[in-house]
């Protein structure tokens, strides 16, 4: 009798319902993007806990792409063909996400991208690729609109890293400023990892731009601002589009981060359900404040987990579920829709924040603002 019970138990234990649906995760867990990738990993882990509490068991298969697109691609192949996952959440960077999107469509695996900016990713008519965050065109428009609403800037300078992320985001922004009648007085793409931007920044300063639009990851963001201060570059506003300008490390550099305006997908003081609690919970669990990537990843995994569960592990049904569903959570309302040439894009509201007294304060849109924006940029102290 015992033997039969054991056998029965073993069979039940092996059934996917109790083992959980297999969901793949591709993330930059090592390499230069790792500090931000960490937020994504942690957000996903919190989601795993919450799904479990709801009775939804998932089995995560983690793949580290080290920030390189070709490794991301082979990770997706492995997840799709060897691990036979129901769906994949990730990757992080624009370059990796773009590369992986094509493969996800080829293998017909539902892919939910949490935080990559490059617009093109969801402009290719791919039925299996979904994106949670607002793409680069929103980065550009939310920042430029904010500046234009707060003052009367006429000229703008661009400085961005010459990677996929930097180039594609600034390309979109340049197109947008043309529609707003702003004149581009400088357009500098720099190779990541330079020690010295001073001469370039001095050159930009000589053109007297009203706005300076920057796209960088963390380390360059800090160097750029430090050296801007050194050369005395003082536009009406510094617009930071990009992950580097939204991290705690950046805000901590009080002397140089004060009053920098950046755009973000999420802050913890927006009145989306559970946003504040998520921020507090993240801080309690991991000892630091989450970036928006954590919230994006959390929401993505919650949605993917639930949808995969209800679709009983079927990829096509999961994809349909993602397309049809509507959610409201820490990222606000989420619906993957087709609009303006985008496919399966969540029309997410971006927030404009400004560092005031070392803290990120949401300043626009007015409905979500906690503080008034400081404009123009006051003199360097």
């Amino acid at each position: 009798m015992r033997k039969h019970l054991l056998a029965l138990g073993a069979t039940l234990a092996l059934s996917p319902c109790l083992m959980g649906q297999k969901i793949g995760v591709i993330n930059s867990m090592s390499g230069p993007e790792a500090p931000i990738g960490e937020n994504i990993s942690n957000g996903i882990k919190l989601a795993e806990q919450d799904l479990k509490a709801k009775g939804i068991h998932i089995q995560l298969v983690w793949e580290d792409d080290t920030g390189k697109p070709q490794i991301s691609m082979s990770a997706l192949e492995k997840l799709a063909t060897r691990e036979n996952v129901v769906g994949v959440v990730g990757p992080y960077t624009s370059a990796c996400s773009n590369a992986v999107a094509k493969l996800a469509e080829k293998y017909r695996v539902p892919l939910l991208i949490p935080a990559a900016a490059k617009e093109e990713i969801t402009r290719q008519g791919f039925k299996n690729v979904f994106r949670m965050n607002a793409p680069a065109d929103k980065y550009a428009s939310s920042l430029i609109d904010a500046a234009v609403s707060l003052g009367k800037p006429k000229t703008i300078a661009f400085i961005y890293e010459n990677t996929d992320f930097g180039t594609s985001t600034s390309k979109t922004a340049k197109a947008y400023v043309a529609t707003k009648g702003l004149q581009v007085v400088a357009d500098v793409s720099y190779p990541k990892g330079s020690a010295d931007y001073r001469s370039t920044l001095a050159q930009i300063k000589s053109k007297n731009p009203d706005l300076v639009f920057m796209v960088s990851y963390v380390a360059d963001a800090i160097l750029l601002m430090r050296q801007s201060r050194e050369v005395g570059l003082r536009p009406q506003a510094f617009l930071g589009a990009g992950a580097g300008f939204t991290t705690t490390e950046f805000a901590k550099e009080h002397a140089i981060s004060e009053n920098v305006i950046s755009c973000t997908q999420w802050t913890d003081d927006v009145n989306w359900p559970g946003a504040k609690a998520f921020g507090q919970r993240y801080k309690a669990a991991y000892g630091k404040n989450p970036t928006y990537h954590a919230a994006c990843a959390y929401a993505s995994m919650m949605i993917m987990g639930e949808t995969a569960y209800h679709a009983n592990g079927d990829r096509a049904k999961t994809r349909d579920g993602l397309k049809a569903g509507k959610w409201n959570g820490v990222m606000g309302e989420v619906k993957f829709a087709d609009y303006d040439g985008f496919t399966n894009q969540n029309n997410h509201q971006m927030l404009v924040q400004q560092i005031q007294k070392g803290n990120y304060e949401t300043v626009l849109p007015a409905a979500f603002a906690t503080k008034k924006p400081v404009y123009p940029f006051p003199n360097w102290k």
Partner: protein, 349 residues
């Protein structure tokens, strides 16, 4: 005489075995590993011709690899030109590039030659980043769908599985090995080795140094560019650091150093060690095996540490391997094996 026949028979048997592998092995992962192996062998054998036989140790072979990869991908993406046509454009370009680089670098000797070869590869990488209209700059070129390969009206393959890539890789590796074999027994090869051993003496014997150095370079560069083109269409994505970076050049050299430079089987041996080792580390195979065998508990401090970190340590282990090989086996594995065999022969007599 008997030995040669035996060797040839074994070689043909191995080749036949490799040719039928895809019929029995379905796992795309296993085929992927074999393809990586073939790629590594091709790269190593190509470098070996210039570095091992002719003694010109270029640490800038990424330049040729990258030209091959980029030309094929650029033509494919921009003009829809099929890679089996585009690759020849790459070959033509790389011959010109190689001759230019040769004219710059071959005037220098020893460490200066090495430094110059690095500088030219870096210049090519920076050009790829900056000439954005041509190469898409740092964003790279992404092409995941290849046109179907047709002979007349019949579709041979549409490249949907890994099998066609397996055969292309096998063919490429075979070509590089055969060319190396030819070089080893030809007059050209003897001139190379003379130049390697003592350039001035070779010159005084009437060997046209500049000509033969360039011949070696061109052969090496063309084969490397073919490997680059293959890499491009297989992976589907190229960007400046991936195909033109310094670590590509170092990697190619490593295959030969570990296996043994200037030998026919050196790069093959080096690849047989490096490719599985790298993959095993990256995919946590070691840790999982240790856990399975019971030496390490999966949840223990050691277990967790290994799981988290061993996969990132594969470059560290490369470094250790290089240091150990240079210090204790400077002629690579082949050199080590030859020494052993000599000792056995002596003992047998």
């Amino acid at each position: 005489m008997n030995k040669t026949i035996l060797k040839t028979v074994i070689a043909i048997a191995v080749l036949a075995g490799l040719a039928v592998v895809p019929r029995f092995v379905e796992s795309p992962y296993a085929l992927h590993m074999m393809i990586l192996l073939f790629l590594s062998v091709s790269q190593g054998q190509s470098w070996n011709i210039l570095g091992g036989y002719a003694g010109q140790h270029s640490v800038g072979h990424a330049a040729y690899f990258g030209v091959g990869a980029y030309t094929t991908m650029m033509l494919l993406q921009a003009k829809g030109i099929a890679p089996w046509v585009g690759v020849w454009a790459g070959v033509a370009i790389v011959i010109v590039v190689a001759l230019v680089i040769g004219s710059i670098c071959f005037r220098l000797r020893g460490p200066y030659f090495v430094l110059a070869s690095i500088a030219v590869a870096e210049i090519m990488r920076l050009m790829a980043i900056n000439l954005t209209t041509l190469t898409n700059g740092a964003e790279g070129i992404l092409v995941t769908e290849l046109p179907a390969f047709k002979v007349g009206e019949r579709v041979i393959t549409d490249f949907m599985t890994k099998v066609p890539f397996y055969y292309i890789g096998l063919a490429l590796a075979l070509i590089t090995i055969l060319i190396t074999l030819w070089i080893q027994h030809s007059k050209v090869g003897y001139y190379f080795q003379a130049i390697r051993e003592d350039q001035d003496a070779a010159h005084s014997l009437g060997i046209h140094i500049a000509l033969y150095k360039n011949v070696g370079l061109v052969i090496s560069a063309v084969l490397t560019s073919l490997a680059g083109a293959f890499y491009g269409i297989y992976v589907g994505f190229v960007d400046p650091p991936t195909v033109l970076g310094l670590d590509v050049s170092v990697q190619i050299m490593l295959i030969c150093i570990i296996g043994g430079m200037g030998t026919l089987w050196g790069p093959l041996l080096g690849s047989l060690i490096l490719v599985p080792l790298s993959e095993a580390l990256r995919s946590n195979l070691f840790t999982e095996t240790l856990v399975k065998v019971g030496l390490v508990q999966a949840d223990s401090r050691v277990g967790l540490f290994l799981k988290e970190n061993l996969s990132h340590a594969h470059v560290l282990i490369y470094g250790l391997l290089v240091v150990l090989v240079i210090l204790f086996m400077p002629d690579g594995l082949m050199g080590f094996i030859k020494k052993l065999m000599k000792r056995w022969k002596r003992e047998a007599v």
